[in-house]
């Protein structure tokens, strides 16, 4: 095939995809004016993509390109900053829970809280119900690793017994007992994991995990919740 035709086809396909996704996003957001989400990224703690890494039906292939812009309604901001954090682990191995929302997402010795092994969660109280568009999680980005059983839920109930919306679940073997998830596992890096919450409403955001390929402990460096106050 002629190389120019190939390139042209690729461009048309990309344009259609971008327009379609922008249209879908606008529909999902109630036709609000959309803008790329502004995200401040930490300094990468390791460079490049590791070569000999497991990629299968449960694991997303890491990209060596920057994450594409995430479109969210204008005015969306990180409402988790300095908000109260609670956890299933009342006495973390190291660090304090407020480090999860202190704005420091660098991979340094003092920027994370580390919870004990097995399934643990941290929960952020946003003080009021919000329409949540994106949740960004940095577990630990000092070395390539996959966190197990990443489950993210939103609710109005601080005990997460009612009106619980699961916006992400990659526990494919149900080892955490929250139900089998179909989302992909992923390699941690400095960009963090951006989860599309699709405008789900709630006051509390809870993130589960069950250790990683690097450590049985559960590290949380930072969580950001991009949202608008709920009407």
């Amino acid at each position: 095939m002629d190389m120019r035709v190939k390139t042209w086809n690729w461009r048309v396909a990309m344009a259609v995809a971008v327009l379609a996704s922008a249209g879908l996003a606008a529909r999902g957001a109630g036709a609000k004016e959309m803008a790329p989400l502004e995200i401040m990224l930490p300094i990468p703690a390791f460079m490049g993509t590791p070569v000999d890494i497991p990629i299968d039906e449960h694991v997303e292939k890491p990209s060596d390109k920057p994450r594409p812009p995430f479109m969210a309604p204008k005015g969306v901001a990180n409402v988790a900053l300095n908000k109260k954090v609670t956890s299933s682990d009342k006495s973390p191995v190291s660090g304090a829970l407020d480090l999860v929302t202190d704005g420091d997402k660098e991979s340094t010795d003092s920027s994370f809280v580390e919870l004990h092994r097995r399934t643990q969660w941290v929960q952020i109280d946003l003080d009021a119900p919000h329409e949540i568009y994106a949740i960004l999680i940095w577990h630990a980005h000092h070395t390539p690793q996959i966190y197990y059983d990443v489950v993210v839920q939103i609710s109005d109930d601080p005990d997460f017994t009612q009106n619980v919306k699961t916006v992400y679940n990659n526990d494919y073997d149900n080892s955490s007992g929250l139900g089998i998830g179909t989302d992909k596992e992923y390699f941690e890096n400095y960009e963090g994991r951006l989860i599309d919450a699709k405008g789900a409403k709630g006051r509390y955001v809870r993130m589960y995990s069950r250790g990683s390929t690097f450590s049985a402990l559960n590290r949380y460096t930072e969580v950001e919740v991009f949202a608008l106050p709920a009407k």
Binding site: D52, D56, F112, N174, A216
Partner: protein
């Protein structure tokens, strides 16, 4: 008060045991530990041992483990646990504490007690006392050899000569690097007394006999012959014990992934603080050792036994440190030999500092201050033994197996429970360059396991554990029907993938499981 020092020494041995023996199974096996375990299997199950000059180091570790297995009623490797193996270096680690008491006639009772306490609490010595490798045994035999040699020099008796010979033979039969200890001892002796001997001749101690030297060398040779020939069943072992230095010298020259800068060991001992973990430092030992050395050198003109031993130890420790630091090949456990010498000097330093304080209340306060400082060593040692036993923030955790590998092992156990053949199901482990250790230890209960460095012609199996890089080749050989059943960290940034038959995965998901992490 007559037995105060003895009671104190007993208390120190108890503390040392409490840090070394509990929860020996907790830490995942290091590659080197699992290799030694599999080497031991032949001796345990078939009574056969052959010294290999290319790998595994000397025979003493395996034979000592045979004794531990016999005491524990263990007859096969499947019956053995990590504790069966690791209790061996732990015994020698506690033995090294007890050995400090043997130095009391040379360093003084106080110094021996302080040295014993520091040996009991040193984070590095504690950590590697729980590690199934040769190092702690070598340090113990070296300590025995040096102590017996000095006891002989002070009070010649054929018993000390024979004990020194046994120590020397056991050093040789434990690890090839014993020559470095021997060399450092010779240099220390030559530096301190060589000039004087040239002028006045060697001042043999009264009672020393030429046949004592012969006895020492004879015992050393006999001990070496017994072990290297596998109790006279393998005569070539003796020649192999000399031939071994070829491959080991290649490694020492830097043909290895374990090449580190000259300050590697001193940096580890001085200060490590990683990733929000605790601070690790043995500066207390180094500081007291400097004090001990200074104390000994200030008594150069005096006829002080402790001064002479201290001066000799200071030269020996510095020379051994320099030798190990110059060699490009470095692993953290190699520093234990000179660390032990620093600890003996530190005992002298602590006793010397307290001796310099005249008033009793001040002396008690100074002793209490050193004890408190020793306490923080104990806290570090406890962290190293328990909370941070496999955590890379612990500086003594080196090229270590990720705890996540135990997740894979437990998943394999759960899969076997779900499989109609149980542990007889076919398992294939395919890792580039044979980088699958310590899995041979952990899968020792499985009866049909194949081990491969590259995908075999027929990779079919109920479960396949493989390096991710082999995924395309395995798919090309008809492995597309297998289900991805997890990915696990072998070491930091080194992964293994598990794939299983779809029916097995369904059975696994449907059956009750033991916790895997």
């Amino acid at each position: 008060m007559k037995y105060a020092h003895l009671i104190l020494a007993a208390a120190v041995v108890i503390v040392a045991s409490a840090l070394r023996f509990p929860r020996l199974e907790d830490r995942p096996m290091h590659t080197d530990e699992s290799v030694q375990a599999l080497k031991f299997q032949g001796l345990l199950e078939h009574g056969q041992y052959r010294y290999d000059p290319d790998e595994y180091h000397g025979p003493v570790l395996s034979y000592a483990t045979r004794v531990a297995a016999w005491l524990g009623g263990v007859r096969t490797l499947a019956e053995a646990t990590e504790a069966t193996l690791r209790c061996v270096p732990a015994v020698f680690g506690v033995g090294l504490v007890g050995l400090a008491w043997g130095w009391r006639g040379l360093l003084g009772r106080g110094a021996a007690c302080w040295a014993g306490l520091l040996t009991a609490l040193s984070p590095a010595l504690v950590y590697y006392s729980r590690y199934y490798i040769h190092e702690m045994l070598l340090v113990f035999w070296s300590g025995l050899f040096l102590m017996a040699g000095w006891r002989y020099a002070r009070s010649p008796h054929w018993g000390w000569a024979a004990l020194g010979g046994a120590g020397l033979g056991l050093m040789h039969s434990t690890k090839e690097t014993f020559v470095l200890q021997l060399g450092a001892a010779a240099v220390a002796t030559g530096v301190l007394w060589g000039r004087r001997w040239r002028r006045r001749g060697i001042p043999w101690p009264a009672g020393a006999r030429g046949w004592h030297a012969g006895l020492m060398l004879g015992v050393a040779a006999a001990v070496s012959a017994v072990f290297f020939t596998s109790f006279f069943a393998h005569g070539a072992g003796l020649w192999d014990s000399i031939r071994t230095y070829g491959p080991w010298l290649t490694r020492a020259e830097g043909d290895s992934p374990h090449v580190h800068p000259w300050h590697f060991y001193l940096g580890l001992l001085a200060w490590t603080h990683r990733g929000g973990g605790p601070v690790w430092s043995e500066l207390l030992i180094l500081g007291l050792a400097v004090a001990g050395g200074a104390w000994a050198w200030r008594r150069r003109g005096e006829d002080s036994p402790a001064g002479a031993v201290g001066r000799w130890l200071s030269v020996y420790a510095v020379v051994l440190t320099a030798v190990y630091s110059v060699i490009p090949y470095k692993t953290p456990w190699c520093m234990l030999g000179f660390l032990h010498a620093y600890i003996l000097l530190a005992g002298l330093g602590a006793a010397g500092l307290l001796g310099a304080v005249r008033a009793m209340p001040s002396r008690v306060a100074a002793a209490a201050a050193i004890l408190v400082a020793c306490g923080q060593l104990g806290v570090q040692a406890a962290h190293g033994s328990f909370g941070y036993a496999a955590d890379p923030r612990n500086p003594y955790v080196y090229a270590h197996t990720s705890p996540n590998l135990l997740h894979l092992v437990r998943r394999m156990e759960n899969l076997a429970r779900a499989h109609p053949l149980g542990r007889s199901m076919v398992v294939k482990v395919i890792a580039a360059g044979g980088d699958y250790w310590p899995l041979p230890w952990y899968l020792r209960w499985f009866e049909r396991v194949g081990w491969y460095s590259a995908p075999p012609e027929d990779p079919r199996a109920s479960a396949v554990i493989a390096s991710p890089r082999w995924a395309p080749e395995l798919e090309g050989r008809g492995m597309t029907n297998l289900v991805a059943a997890g990915h696990f960290g072998l070491r930091p940034a080194v992964f293994l993938q598990l794939r299983v038959e779809p029916d097995l995965w369904s059975a696994y998901m449907a059956s009750p499981r033991e916790p895997e992490d």
